[in-house]
Amino acid sequence: MRQTIVDKIWAAHEILAREGSSLLFVDRHLLHEGSHHAFDKIGAAGRKVRHPELTFGVADHYAPSSELRANAASATMIERLSANTARHGIGSFGLGDARRGIVHVAMPEQGLTLPGLVIVCGDSHTATHGAFGAFAFGIGASEVAHVLATQALWQKKPPAMRITVTGELPFGTTAKDLALHIIGRIGTGGATGHAVEYAGAAISALSMEGRMTLCNMTIEMGARSGIVPPDETTFAWLRGRPMAPKGAAFDRAVQSWKALRSDAGADYAREVVIDAGEVAPMVTWGTSPEQVAPVTGAVPEPAAGGDAEALDYMGLSGGESLSEIPIDRGFIGSCTNGRYSDLLAAARVLAGRRLAVPLLVSPGSSEVARQAEESGIAAIFRAAGAEWGMSGCSLCVGMNGDRVQAGERCASTSNRNFRGRQGPGARTHLMSPAMVAAAALSGRIADVRAMELAALPEAAESFEAARAGS
């Protein structure tokens, strides 16, 4: 039988099959503060963690981005994670650890995400790790408890879906715009329950960071997972990462990873073809990521699909030009767009200019923050008047002290514009980091393609080149 890459990873991890489900071995189990329910469950039953050495924790969701907004309740959640992981002998990156960051940024950075692995985490955006050719998906608390105790998980094989992206992304567009463009095309239910595989020239051309952004947003299409088969870009990015295999062991691993591609003629339950050349900078106008349009477009009339309830919540009316919508603040960060290249793209827009509205930047990890300080792009953000916060989930989710006030409109690089996601009554417009920078400079949603971009100091650009190419 001709197999997809997910079929191959599945077959290599199937312990047994019963009643149409497979018990899959889990290579990496990632934890964050939300894991407390699962620890309570195994604790109550007196169970041990089967493989603490394959389990890693990190404080992100409740980590404050500023000491000023730190609060006791969040601190308790972080302490609970430290106590639970310590009790079971699990390595965890707590506050103050230089390896700490958002789970989907920090773990790949440390070399814990590798091709061909089955990776789970009690977080829907676990799909991010598929960028490396891993089969990665989010699970719930009962499943987290199951994996802690057995290092395995019952799964039904998801139907396969292939999204082929041909051509080249135009100037001023990014993997984020591509993701929003696809969601706009197929809808938030367009890939429900499917294992999505990305293919095509535009995907091969993406950097690892771009692939992570795209796989991350795949969950917003309803998919179970997103995957990009590993290639030279992947191997180059992984080489030398702290916890990745080293030397000859790495080379042997690469030999085996090269087999991780779908057979020609493998079957897909769904196929979608996208022309990258049609992608424009995208902006959401509603309360679901599928409610999205190019920045040159307008908010749709209720009669033309402009969901009246969403428009009411967002304080918009049909027909308004997207690029005339004033914003109150901006946010750059999250597991979607909190990586070095994201900050760099925003810095090119911000350099030498002053913000019109407040902008909060929370680097995706302490490592990203360190690199940005070293290369000088953190200074660009500060000089523009942005708040340079500590790393964490920050304004992506209103649970760590960061909040958008009711009625406030925020241009955000995060992944969900759901009602109340950034705080009760908050209005979120999703877009790319460069677009958020453009909006924060203009005080309204703006087309970044119309702005002049700064050439950054050699250090910033070459730093990126060195990292991407090493």
Partner: protein, 209 residues
């Protein structure tokens, strides 16, 4: 887990698509332990206004008796994987959610907490919506009976609706079985697998931990 055999009670309609888990249980309420209960926070920001006053127009606030079944639109439970969204529904007394479609992770979480999720086609879902809406307008709340064994939803004056369910899940729900205790019986197979797996793929165990 509480076994699921037959459940009887009123229904409620939340006729929207994309009811995400951030709405089912807003993130700021997720610090609670399981024993404290999540029922009062179900759909908190839709049910109550900023001052904590219930919105009288919201369907869940109009019922004299808590519903056992909720009917919604497409892509129910999308978004965050938080299992607390299921806790909020279950703690509020809801044992069955009927929707046009469900988000994957939510559906898995539901099954592990005794919450039955039923995907129905448009025509049947519309019939159920009509039944619930009509009954709500009458003085006495109409009751629905959801029978897992026969896989049916019945009510007086409602043409009985049949639904599909995964065989393994049905068995566990009927018996109130927890998946984990079952898997532990397969432990020798896990051990045998691991020996092979680690030998073939030494990189699975990370370097420099």
């Amino acid at each position: 887990m509480q076994p699921f055999t037959t459940v009887t009670g009123p229904g409620v309609v939340l006729d929207r698509d994309n009811i995400d888990t951030d709405q089912l249980i807003p993130a700021r309420f997720m610090k609670r332990s399981r024993t404290e209960g999540y029922g009062d926070q179900l759909l908190r920001d839709l049910r109550f206004d900023e001052d904590g006053e219930p919105d009288p127009a919201f369907p869940l606030n109009r019922l004299a008796e808590p519903p056992v079944l909720m009917v919604a639109g497409k892509n129910f439970g999308c978004g965050s994987s938080r299992e607390a969204a299921v806790y909020a529904l279950v703690d509020h007394g809801i044992r069955v959610v009927v929707a046009a479609s469900f988000a994957d992770i939510f559906r898995g979480n539901a099954g592990k907490n005794g919450l039955l999720t039923i995907a129905l086609g448009d025509a049947e879902r519309a019939r159920l919506v009509r039944f619930v809406e009509r009954e709500r307008a009458s003085a006495e709340l109409g009751r629905l009976t959801i029978d897992l064994e026969t896989q049916t939803i019945a009510g007086e004056g409602l043409e009985t609706i049949e639904f599909d369910i995964d065989a393994g899940l049905k068995r566990r729900l009927l018996l109130g079985l927890d998946e984990l205790s079952e898997t532990l019986e397969d432990e020798p197979m896990i051990t045998a697998f691991e020996t092979r797996h680690f030998a073939e793929r030494p990189w699975v165990v990370p370097a420099n931990r």
